[in-house]
């Protein structure tokens, strides 16, 4: 049976490095997926950049920060990557965009988790988020990152 663990990490200062721990259930068999969502707590009209304007039709995404996830078991660091606010190029070179502009909410598919494989022996996932959004904005940006872990649980283990 699959269970989703959601852990929220709050960032409030520019260049902040925030460590966190996500405890896993005792009857976990493995972690199979990873996903995240970024929620801006400040008002975007107050000057927080939510898109980068360029002359090119390609828009670079806002890199909110870096995330690293690891365990003390053999996997070590099992995920390291950029936190992207959203993909602003869903309508890249789309000839219909003048009529019906492509946005995340009207042109995107359902969000499948990124596949990771983590042994169930791990009791805790350690992680950190290093802020980049505040560095980009040259001010403190308050936001939260929800980290989703998709776990497979074992309900048949007599020891549990």
């Amino acid at each position: 049976m699959e269970e989703i663990i959601i852990h929220t990490v709050g960032i409030s200062r520019a260049s902040q490095l925030k460590h966190f721990e996500i405890p896993l259930p005792r009857n976990i068999e493995k972690v199979t997926g990873l996903w995240y969502k970024v929620r801006l707590l400040d008002d975007a009209e107050s000057g927080v950049p939510i898109s980068i304007r360029t002359r090119s039709p390609y828009l670079p995404p806002i890199i909110v920060g870096q995330i690293s996830l690891s365990t003390r078991q053999q996997e070590g660091v099992f995920y390291y990557g950029n936190l992207i606010l959203e993909n602003p190029n869903v309508g890249f070179l789309d000839y219909t965009s003048g009529v019906f502009p492509a946005k995340q909410h009207n042109r995107s598919a359902m969000k499948r988790p990124l596949k990771v494989l983590l042994n169930g022996d791990s009791a805790i996932v350690h992680g950190y988020i290093l802020d980049n959004w505040g560095t980009l904005a040259r001010r403190n940006v308050r936001y939260e990152v929800d980290v989703y872990l998709f776990c497979e649980l074992n309900f048949n283990d007599p020891e549990q």
Binding site: E3, I4, I5, I6, T8, W35, K37, R39, L40, L41, D42, D43, A44, S46, V48, I50, K103, Q104, H105, N106, R107, S108, A109, M110, K111, Y143, D146, Y148
Partner: protein, 131 residues
């Protein structure tokens, strides 16, 4: 299976209103007795940008939790470019039981949006027994 008790695939739609920012709305709906299985789930709204950025939902069918509290609705939404036969998030091994579908919907502020009242529509992909 003969024609009399054939199963028809049809959506069941439930609606709930979000009238205040940063609020939690809980509703319990009941499936008809004719519903024999639930194969998928989808969310939509007349203001999809608000639902996409601000919507979080816990969904329970027959007291079994399929999505935990504060689960982002945007994972279960899809755009107009999705295939017609791929618009539901698949649900597996759903036992209809008492037929109760419980939704706890939470609206959370996101600085990229400005709140206005919106309606959340929950679609369930059901198989219905024809009499």
């Amino acid at each position: 299976m003969n024609e009399e008790n054939a199963l028809l695939r049809a959506p069941k739609v439930f609606e709930l209103q979000v009238t205040a920012a940063n609020s939690k709305v809980s509703e319990t709906f009941e499936l008809d007795k004719s519903v024999k299985s639930v194969n998928g789930i989808a969310f939509t709204s007349e203001k999809p940008d608000l639902l996409f950025h601000r919507g979080y939902a816990r969904v329970e069918i027959n007291k079994r939790e399929f999505f935990p509290d504060n689960h982002a609705v945007q994972r279960i939404m899809n755009g107009v470019d999705a295939n017609l036969d791929n618009r539901y998030w698949p649900l597996e091994n759903v036992i209809i039981g008492n037929g109760q579908v419980k939704i706890e919907f939470t609206d959370k502020a996101d600085g990229r949006t400005v709140f206005a009242a919106y309606t959340v529509q929950l679609y369930l992909d059901c198989e219905i027994e024809l009499n």
